[in-house]
């Protein structure tokens, strides 16, 4: 919210003159990358501000299309209807979506089919997948979430999410609820997994940089910056900075994501 107020103030000040800011809106998953790199960029470039907010991937795409932001960040691909918007795609990192459970949950591994059945509401007790006799507490993301979109595409196939799942509007909230409720299961970006929750292996593969780069971990995706062709020079320079090894090897990796260059390095 503070960023938003700041954005309004700055827009007001710079009206008429040359714009000295870049507005970045979209995926909450991408927040660590755009926020930290934005701060670093601001420090080395006097008088330029990078204003970052996270409202969901769809909101980011909507906002860059309408011109209310320079860069729309997204943790999902464009939908068919969005392909005609003329947006330019810059992949900035790879990410795995981890299926997370409470740390005390003895279940260590699930198959793609089991995960799908759980999120469709077909499997409702942990005992059905080799766990204790404990009802499964489903935690889903809201429909604006790029993580939900990507998860749905990779895992759910044609199956529909159980409508009775708790819907939480943010990655952090999903994590804190799962850390707190013993029978809960949810999914968040690998970059957000901490010791408070446990990521289970999918089809026998643990989520990690190595398994994402090798392509073995199935639930992975590309994180995008979407822009329009009338991009300002400052924004263009900022994107180049995000793609530079400076950011890719430090900020992107520190945030738990995988540098966009990693697959090229092994020829993938």
């Amino acid at each position: 919210m503070a960023t938003l107020v700041l954005a309004l103030t700055l827009t007001g000040c710079s009206a008429g003159g040359e714009r000295r800011e870049v507005i970045v809106t979209g995926s909450t998953t991408l927040l660590p990358i755009s926020e930290v790199s934005g701060e670093m960029y601001t420090e080395s470039h006097d008088g330029i501000s990078i204003l970052v907010s996270g409202m969901g991937s769809s909101a980011g795409i909507e906002s860059v299309t309408k011109g209310s932001s320079d860069i729309g960040t997204s943790s999902r691909e464009l939908k068919d209807a969005e392909l005609e918007l003329g947006l330019e795609d810059t992949p900035v990192a790879y990410d795995a979506i981890a299926v997370i459970v409470h740390p005390d949950n003895p279940v260590r591994e699930l198959s793609t089919f089991e995960v799908r059945s759980i999120f469709a509401g077909v499997i409702t007790n942990w005992s059905e997948v080799g766990g204790p006799d404990l009802p499964i507490g489903l935690v889903n993301r809201d429909e604006a979430s790029g993580t939900r979109e990507a998860f749905s595409k990779i895992i759910m196939d044609d199956a529909r999410f159980d409508r009775g799942a708790v819907v939480l509007p943010g990655t952090g909230q999903v994590r804190s609820v799962i850390a707190d409720v013993e029978g809960a299961i949810g999914y968040i970006s690998l970059g957000f997994v901490t010791d408070d929750v446990k990521a289970v292996a999918i089809d026998g593969v643990e989520p990690s940089e190595a398994t994402v780069v090798s392509g073995d971990y199935p639930v992975q995706r590309v994180l995008h910056f979407f822009t329009k062709d009338d991009l300002s020079d400052i924004a263009r320079d900022y994107i180049e900075y995000v793609l530079s090894p400076d950011v890719q090897d430090t900020i992107v990796r520190d945030a738990g994501f995988i540098p966009i260059t990693a697959k090229e390095a092994i020829g993938g």
Binding site: G137, D142, E143, R163, V166, V167
Partner: protein, 306 residues
């Protein structure tokens, strides 16, 4: 506005009072200033109504009025916008909050008005009023961290849902209902109260048999306004209700309301979805108008009786 025309600078006659020209000008200025305040308030309501209606009325075309009002599924990805589960969710949570909150609030009001010593009152009343000043996000956070685990124990679910949301809202509507009920009890003529005591009735008998019936309509008014507050509350509900747009499946199951669905969806809604959200706003507006009309009708009834 017909203003008396003035000539010369001497004292002018207005009604029965003589006043100087300066005083007259000041009076006229103030009168118009207050009129302006009232107009701004009315214009704000009218503008909001016109705006939401203009943006939302097309729900009658797509998805169509019947599909919108009676559809059993709300899913933006599937393009289905039926508000029935949301209406049921709103009703369930509101009803729950009234069942818990109204007795609590009316009890508080009876205590403040009939039982408490002036010293006690000076402590309890500000405390109740402060409840109204706590930001709703704080209520929501309290509900999420403290009440949700308790509700999870009680219901066997995750604690998101009707129970937690109702308890939070029950506390939130206490100040509204308590303050208005206290006013209603206070406006019962003292003679009635004294007559009851003079007949040898105890405090409880007086409250139960005389005061509460006498203030009945005022108390119903208070409860309806509390209900309006519960229906409109958003932030606290989003944090604890679980936001699953499904039909009521028990106190511990996640549920969504008209307001919470608007908040969850508004950042990315486009096209029909956005129209449908404005449609939800119209429904909320109509509910609110209905409640206000009900209160007005009851007050008129009360005046006629008195």
């Amino acid at each position: 506005m017909a203003e008396p025309q003035q000539t010369g600078s001497g004292p002018v006659k207005s009604g029965l009072k003589m006043m100087s020209r300066a005083t007259y000008m000041r009076e006229a200025l103030l009168k118009n200033l207050f009129l302006l305040c009232a107009i701004v308030a009315v214009a704000a309501v009218a503008l909001i109504f016109v705006f939401t209606t203009a943006r939302g009325w097309e729900v009658v075309k797509d998805p169509g009025l019947v599909a919108f009002l009676t559809g059993a599924e709300w899913s933006s990805t599937l393009g289905r916008f039926g508000i029935l589960p949301l209406v049921v969710g709103t009703l369930a949570i509101t009803l729950g909050s009234l069942v818990l909150g109204a007795p609590l609030a009316i009890g508080t009001a009876v205590f403040l008005s009939e039982i408490a010593s002036p010293r006690m009152r000076s402590i309890v009343r500000p405390a109740v009023e402060m409840l109204a000043g706590v930001p709703s996000v704080v209520y929501g956070f309290f509900g999420l961290v403290i009440l949700r685990p308790i509700a999870a124990e009680l219901t066997g679910g995750m604690g998101f849902g009707t129970l937690t949301a109702s308890v939070i809202l029950a506390v939130m509507i206490v100040p509204t209902i308590a303050t208005l009920t206290e006013d209603a009890l206070g406006s019962v003529p003292p003679g009635i109260r004294e007559a009851s005591y003079a007949m040898g009735a105890t405090t409880w008998q007086t409250i139960y048999k005389v005061l509460l019936p006498a203030a009945k309509i005022g108390i119903i008014d208070a409860t309806i306004l509390g209900m309006g507050r519960a229906i409109g509350e958003t932030m606290a509900v989003v944090m604890v209700a679980g936001n699953a747009p499904q039909f009521f499946k028990g106190l511990g199951a996640p549920i969504a309301t008209l307001t919470s669905q608007i908040v969850i969806d508004m950042s990315y809604a486009t096209g029909t979805h956005k129209t449908a959200l404005f449609g939800l706003a119209i429904i909320l507006f109509l509910i609110s108008m209905g409640l206000v009309a009900l209160v007005r009708a009851l007050s008129r009834l009360n005046e006629k009786k008195a």
